[in-house]
């Protein structure tokens, strides 16, 4: 008897961490994206611990210095240490992206669930609002909103709110569709028979299965939010003094950095922007595979 149990344990699946790594090996885009993201996180965290925040603002260091040992990414026209500016900028970009992305996803998930689970009038109302709002280009509305806010109080967080306002419809529709299909699955009926309440079913039975979709929606939202914050910075609607990546790239452009041969000024934040957005795109593609079992099968 005991030997049987033993052999059963032996064929049991390896633990989740090992499984995760095995899965990563089969999903190179996810792996690659996560690696870049990990690198960016380490870079930012390490930077935040070592830099002097003041160096990210003008008049801190000698201006217009090419990269050197002392200033690994050089300094700009305004006398900012570009390394410090990039660390702070990535942190602020991350704050906007994650804040707007997370809230957008959470709101979308809640609306999606409400819509799908209760159906009827509520469902019709939520879905038609989403469908009506979706063709309206979010950026344009963001521009109007950002332009109407008193800019004296624009901070990183206000910017995140502006980005958030139109970031919930996508997740709402995705989650709604998924919940609708989940709701018809038999394990929901079984859970009902097992005495679970509606809330219990939503949170314990349906939600866990939607995690890949929610994660994918989240990544997509973060991507959109980072992009939107970049564009808003470019049309001059962001917090100008802050070294947001978009602001730094744009100020390099307005001071003619390329033309004047200060190539190191825009390169750092541009590469950071590309890495952030690129890794999000890769992770998104990887998530797609995770959420779509048919793609997974073919790997």
């Amino acid at each position: 008897m005991s030997s049987v149990t033993l052999s059963n344990t032996a064929i049991r699946q390896p633990n989740k961490v090992t499984l995760f790594f095995r899965y990563l090996r089969r999903n190179p885009s996810l792996t690659f994206g996560l690696l870049i993201m990990l690198f960016l996180v380490i870079f930012t965290v390490h930077g935040l611990l070592t830099i002097n925040t003041k160096d990210a603002y003008p008049l801190a260091v000698r201006p217009k210095m090419p990269p050197s040992f002392q200033y690994p990414l050089g300094t700009d026209f305004f006398g900012r240490d570009l390394y410090a500016a990039m660390v702070i900028g990535m942190w602020q970009t991350a704050v906007i992206g994650v804040f707007a992305g997370a809230l957008g996803t959470i709101i979308g998930t809640i609306f999606g669930f409400i819509s799908a689970y209760f159906g009827g009038f509520i469902d019709a109302a939520i879905t038609s609002i989403c469908q009506i709002l979706i063709p309206i280009p979010a950026f344009l509305i963001q521009v109007i909103i950002a332009g109407s806010i008193d800019k004296r109080s624009v901070t990183i967080l206000t910017m995140a709110w502006v980005v958030l306002l139109l970031a919930w419809m996508g997740p709402t529709l995705v989650i709604r569709a998924q919940v609708l299909s989940m709701k018809e699955r038999q394990f929901v009926s079984v859970a009902k028979l097992s005495g679970m309440t509606s809330l219990g079913i939503i949170f314990k039975e349906i939600l866990p299965n939607l995690l890949p979709f929610i994660a994918a929606a989240f990544i997509a939202q973060v991507f959109q939010a980072v992009f939107a914050s970049f564009y808003l910075a470019i049309v001059g609607l962001g917090p100008v003094r802050e070294p947001l990546l978009g602001n730094t790239i744009w100020s390099a452009q307005t001071q003619g950095a390329f033309f004047n041969g200060w190539w190191w000024w825009p390169i750092g934040p541009a590469v950071a922007m590309i890495l952030i957005l690129g890794s999000l795109a890769l992770i998104n593609m990887g998530m797609d595979e995770m959420a779509n079992p048919r793609i997974r099968r073919s790997e």
């Binding site: 885009s29 309206i136 280009p137 344009l140 332009g147 109407s148 922007m273 957005l277 998104n284």
Partner: protein
């Protein structure tokens, strides 16, 4: 074609227009700014208005633009105007109407945005299909997949780099403008090619920036199709891989992508707004940008609304075209 569906879609269109115009109407009015005063205050920079006069003029023009009426009445007038394709008068460019301004700048945007959307659609779907196609060589798959990374390159950034390296350093293509300075537009092939040459760099920036999205979704679609029985069946029938790729695989995978076309257009418009500025192309984007910078509210609303209606209309058109492309779907 079914009339009930048609009327349903038209209702949807109306709702979109209503929502967009309501948002654009109310949001700026929540803020305490008076666009007329802002415009005249700015004008006073070069002139000699006295403060008292300015207030009188502001009142006069507020009346002219209907800004002194109760909010609801303004809203009603605004809506009624939209129904008559009257988006109002530009504050900054008085006496021009917003529709005139849109008409002047629209062709450039249509030229740029449409062509780049379609190019990126074709290129992205082709690459996405190749990335998912089991028979394509590994290097091809890798190249196709690496286009996803370009999604992370904002077209504006790409535009700046292209201008500097291709335009300025290599002098291969013009650095900006819609056509060569001093050329008089006509309908000759020469002018056509000149415009094309000027659209090339902004076009590349927009296409590269948007192609990745199509690659991702097409790749997903393609893999799904592969598992379908009809593909397997076609293989067993002994059809060549080219035929299978084109007739069974690409065609079926492509269909759902078309629904995304109208929405993608919306995203591209966002990029185009900023890219047009970089390249000094006098399209809707540049118009919008200058309106934003000069507080020309009626132009901002007008363009936002116009773009929204355009996208929503395209969505509806695509929906009706869809059954023509996919014989499996028939509107009942």
């Amino acid at each position: 074609m079914n009339f009930r569906l048609l009327s349903k879609r038209l209702l949807f269109l109306l709702m979109v227009v209503w929502a967009a115009s309501t948002i654009t109407f109310f949001i700026p009015r929540i803020s305490p700014k008076n666009p007329v005063r802002e415009r005249f205050a700015e004008l006073a920079r070069t002139g000699g208005f006295s403060p008292e006069d300015l207030e009188v003029i502001v009142a006069d023009y507020s009346q002219r633009f209907g800004l002194d009426k109760p909010l609801l009445q303004q809203y009603g007038d605004y809506m009624w105007g939209i129904l008559r394709f009257d988006l109002g008068i530009s504050l900054n460019k008085f006496p021009k109407t917003v529709m005139q301004l849109i008409y002047e700048s629209l062709p450039w945007t249509i030229g740029l945005v449409f062509i780049t959307t379609i190019l990126s659609f074709i290129l992205g779907n082709w690459l996405g299909a190749l990335a998912a196609w089991p028979r394509s060589p590994d290097w091809l798959k890798n190249i196709a997949t690496s286009f996803v990374l370009f999604q992370g390159v904002p077209p504006v950034l790409l535009g700046i780099l292209l201008i500097f390296f291709i335009g300025f350093k290599l002098k291969l293509l013009p650095l900006g403008g819609a056509y060569s300075i001093g050329t008089v537009p006509d309908q000759s092939i020469g002018f056509f090619l000149d415009v094309l040459r000027h659209q090339l760099l902004p076009g590349i920036a927009l296409v590269l920036g948007s192609v990745g999205g199509w690659v991702i979704s097409m790749r997903g679609m393609g893999v799904t199709i592969q598992g379908e029985d009809y593909v397997t069946f076609a293989e067993h029938k002994g059809l060549g891989p080219r035929v299978i790729f084109r007739d069974y695989y690409l065609r079926n995978a492509l269909l759902p992508q078309i629904t995304g076309l109208a929405l993608a257009l919306g995203n591209l418009v966002t990029s185009a707004i900023v890219v047009e500025g970089i390249f000094a192309l006098p399209g809707l984007g540049t118009m919008l940008n200058s309106a934003i910078r000069s507080n020309d509210f009626s132009v901002i609303y007008g363009i936002v609304l116009f773009i929204t209606i355009g996208i929503a209309t395209l969505m509806v058109i695509v929906e009706f075209l869809y059954p023509l492309l996919d014989p499996r779907i028939r509107h009942q």
